[in-house]
């Protein structure tokens, strides 16, 4: 780390919470020679260290870029408010953890946009790095600012702040982008010609350069987003890694010293999910299903255990019990790791008995509760959202869990779903009561968590508006009263936060000024309840005469131009519309993994297909 930064930190760090957040130096961190590489990349995670370091994508890119001798990648996280204050007072610019270099000295800064509520942190980090916030105010001395992650599927509200977005799987395109930056600077003796560079980047498949696309409005309604240079594709298609078997996986990840959100090894069983839940963005934008083979996963698990020393391994993916070799995988891992007291955990279990049997296999002691996500309280509504879980599945799952010794059951639901009535909200209560009454003697405790539905881009519900705030609050109160005094713990989410998410999830470029204004009024860490500043946001919307409730609740017409129409994630808009219609009729659409193709158009158009290795899975 640079001496000036080090000296300043020595003074500041004793005064902030969790100083280690700002120090790096973890096992497997890369300290590469700045001068001997061709391109210096700073990965910026717009949340605190503990959140960012739990993100698999960071570990993948870090390993991928740093194994290249001609590239280096360093990390920076959003400084907590105490640290921000000291940094601003001391005029200490935001720096990369590995070398302590100010953000401005890197060739490229890459943000990952995991959730809408981190957008203000992106602005704040740029500001702390002394980089002009608006892309069109940056000159040739500024680093290139790129962004990726799920929110890049509708990046329009953040588009004026970002030079280029990377759509889809980052593994290949990230390297191509950095190679392009390196080559660009090489022929210019290290200098950069922004306009020329952006044109070069626009030619890389999967790279979206928003300044080359012009939105057009008529009477305040978006009518078109068209390219303004011929080099830019009319629609940018997301990148897909067709085969995860050969894709890079970080078996030597960074190992944080301080406790992070997920302190464990991670195995990525597969990418993509085609269960087809109609509210779920991940289920649309990560298609098709691409599994890793059992052998590959077992090898990675062994390497991880040896390289990390962690005592827990988490099997993750969008729906882990769907992995086609899951029984063998779980059995082998539990057997291999038992003696060393390495625990195995499964994320995202389906609500069925098969999943409970898996959970029983790995959780010899029923320490933590089991979590299921029926998402809706009645079969009618579960069919509308295509959840594919029946009441019998749920009660059988709970039966199996209780019989195996679990007493704590957590159930996740959503409220405000399209087509929902009060009967569906009551259905949540009835389902819980049914579970309790079926196990009267066992002391079963239920925790119910109900989040607010946020319509997302590239899903069949992208045309729907969000339920009104007053309705959401009424439903929340209704449930609170119903659950009062029961053996049921009830949690719900702040409606204002969900409103903000909804505004940005389907917003267009005109929201950038609101984002900027909210940041200027002090908004940051919007996802953190203790820092969420609704007054700042209200003020920002008012400043531009906008009503967030109107924006979030807006229904889009079938033929209306959507802000993300020029971004192609592979699934046909026609298919999404058909799914929307089927939802209205309460008709379900089956999983296409083994059965019939549901016709989303992705496999044919992007020349890819599901990769499955076994026959099992729930």
């Amino acid at each position: 780390m640079r001496k000036e930064v080090g000296d300043e930190l020595q003074r500041i760090l004793p005064q902030v919470v969790k100083p280690q957040r700002y120090l790096g130096g973890e096992l497997n961190s890369a300290e590469k020679d700045w001068e001997s590489v061709q391109v210096r990349y700073l990965f910026a995670f717009p949340d605190v260290y503990e959140v960012g370091m739990s993100h698999l994508g960071l570990q993948i890119l870090y390993g991928l870029v740093n194994r290249r001798p001609d590239m280096l990648m360093e990390r920076v996280f959003a400084p907590w408010t105490d640290m921000e204050r000291f940094m601003r007072e001391a005029r200490l610019p935001l720096f990369g953890l590995e070398s302590g270099r100010p953000m401005k000295e890197y060739d490229c800064i890459g943000f990952t946009l995991q959730y809408e509520l981190s957008f203000t942190n992106v602005l704040n980090m740029l500001s702390l790095g002394d980089i002009p916030l608006w892309a069109d105010e940056r000159d040739n001395t500024c680093p290139l600012v790129i962004a990726g992650g799920p929110c890049a599927s509708n990046p329009e509200p953040a588009a004026p702040f970002i030079d280029a977005f990377v759509l889809g799987d980052g593994e290949e395109v990230q390297l191509e982008l950095l190679e392009t930056v390196a080559a660009h600077r090489r022929v210019r003796n290290g200098a950069q010609d922004r306009d020329a560079l952006l044109r070069e980047l626009a030619g890389i498949p999967g790279v979206y350069v928003p300044s080359f696309y012009q939105p057009e409005y008529e009477n305040g309604v978006l009518t078109r987003v068209s390219r303004i240079i011929p080099e830019a594709p009319a629609r940018v298609t997301r990148r897909i890694i067709p085969d995860l078997e050969t894709a890079f996986f970080p078996v030597k990840p960074l190992i944080p010293y301080i406790e992070v959100v997920h302190d464990r090894m991670v195995l990525e069983l597969f990418r993509g999910c085609v269960r087809g839940c109609r509210f779920c963005q991940a289920g649309m934008i990560y298609r098709p299903v691409r599994e890793r083979s059992l052998e590959t996963l077992l090898g990675q698990a062994r390497d991880l255990a040896l390289n990390t020393g962690h005592h827990e391994i988490s099997l993750t993916s969008l729906s882990s019990s769907d992995y086609s070799c899951i029984p063998e995988l779980v059995k082998t891992l539990v057997g291999d790791f038992e003696e060393r007291h390495i625990g195995v955990s499964l994320s995202s279990l389906r609500a069925d008995a098969f999943s409970v049997h898996l959970a029983r296999e790995i959780q010899k002691i029923r320490k933590t509760g089991l979590t299921f996500a029926p998402e809706a309280g009645t079969q009618r509504l579960r069919d509308i959202i295509n959840k594919g879980v029946t009441e019998a599945d749920i009660t059988q799952a709970v039966d199996a869990a209780v019989q195996s010794g679990w007493r704590q059951i957590k159930l996740y639901f959503m409220m405000g779903l399209p087509g929902e009535t009060m009967a569906d909200i009551e259905g949540i209560v009835q389902l819980c009561e049914k579970i309790l009454s079926e196990h009267p003697k066992r002391g079963v405790r239920i925790t119910v968590s109900v989040s607010n539905f946020v319509p997302k881009a590239h899903t069949p519900f992208q045309w729907c508006g969000q339920d009104a705030q007053a309705n959401l609050m009424e439903k929340q109160q209704f449930l609170r009263q119903k659950f009062r005094g029961r053996k049921i713990v009830y949690h719900y989410h702040d409606a204002a936060t969900s409103l903000l998410e909804a505004v940005f999830a389907r917003g267009d470029r005109r929201l950038a000024k609101v984002l900027h204004e909210a940041w200027r009024r002090g908004s940051r860490f919007d996802g953190w309840t203790e820092l969420f500043n609704w007054e700042a946001w209200q003020g920002a919307f008012e400043a531009f005469g906008l009503d967030p409730e109107v924006l979030a609740g807006a229904r889009f017409e079938e033929d209306q131009c959507l802000p993300w129409d020029h971004l192609d994630y592979g699934v046909d808009k026609v298919f999404l519309r058909e799914e929307y219609r089927r939802a209205a009729d309460g008709r379900t659409t089956p999983d296409c993994r083994r059965g019939e193709c549901a016709g989303c158009g992705l496999c044919g158009r992007l020349d890819t297909s599901h990769v499955l290795w076994g026959a099992a899975g729930s």
Binding site: Q10, P19, D263, N307, G309
Partner: protein, 227 residues
């Protein structure tokens, strides 16, 4: 077999808590493929016991732990095990010595009763240095010392040595204090007392370093490695 290890918490690990260090050490042992012995019960954890917890912000050249390993690894020999640990250790810890011990009658934390600290202060002018030295001498003259007025615990008996010198153009405070089960005098408290009771005006930051942990016996200070 039981191994006693002496290690350093380096500058890179200054801001780690005791729990962070404990986790880091367990992971290091796992990476070194040491056959750790686990406790029985619902939540088995490796049998590693520490001499003393070290606070956030403090580095050390003399930390100790005892770790129980399966007899299986005896054949490897202590030097080979030490080598494995060193190679698996991240830069916040450095192995200084490793030896096999017989099962101790009392735990490490029960036998430790002294700690020596070196505190580096921001460089002072000659007047400041003289003032600090005078303050240190004055502090030792008190018969009772307490942080909370009027009736706090008397800390004076736990302060055995205190001196101030200049090393490498830096002002360094050297103190020997009581630590362990009979009582604990934190170096920060001595610094606070110097400022509050003797007007030493010691500027921050105070870079605190633990020089070592000892057992005071009839024959003087001994480290856990010579017990």
């Amino acid at each position: 077999m039981i191994l006693r290890m002496k290690y350093r918490k380096t500058e890179a690990g200054r801001y780690l808590s005791h729990l962070d260090m404990a986790r880091t050490i367990e992971r290091t042992f796992r990476r070194a493929e040491l056959p750790l012995v686990f406790s029985a019960g619902f939540n088995p954890h490796p049998k590693i016991s520490f001499a003393s917890a070290l606070a956030v912000g403090v580095t050390s050249d003399g930390e100790y732990l005892d770790a129980e390993l399966s007899e299986l690894c005896r054949a490897e020999g202590v030097p080979a095990l030490a080598d494995k640990i060193s190679r698996a250790a991240p830069k916040v810890i450095e192995l200084l010595a490793l030896m096999e011990i017989r099962k101790p009658e009392r735990s490490l934390s029960a036998v430790i009763n002294r700690a020596r600290y070196l505190i580096t202060l921001p460089s002072a002018d000659p007047a400041g240095l003289a003032r600090s030295k005078a303050a240190a001498a004055k502090l030792l003259e008190f018969e009772t010392l307490s942080l909370k007025q009027p009736q706090g615990k008397n800390l004076r008996p736990w302060l055995y040595e205190l001196s101030i010198s200049v090393k490498d153009r830096q002002v360094v405070l050297d103190m020997l204090t009581e630590t362990g089960q009979a009582g604990n005098l934190k170096p920060q408290d001595v610094l606070t007392l110097l400022n509050d009771e003797c007007r030493a005006n010691l500027d921050k930051p105070w870079l605190i370093h633990r020089e070592g942990l000892y057992t005071q016996t009839g024959g003087g200070l001994r480290t856990p490695m010579d017990l």
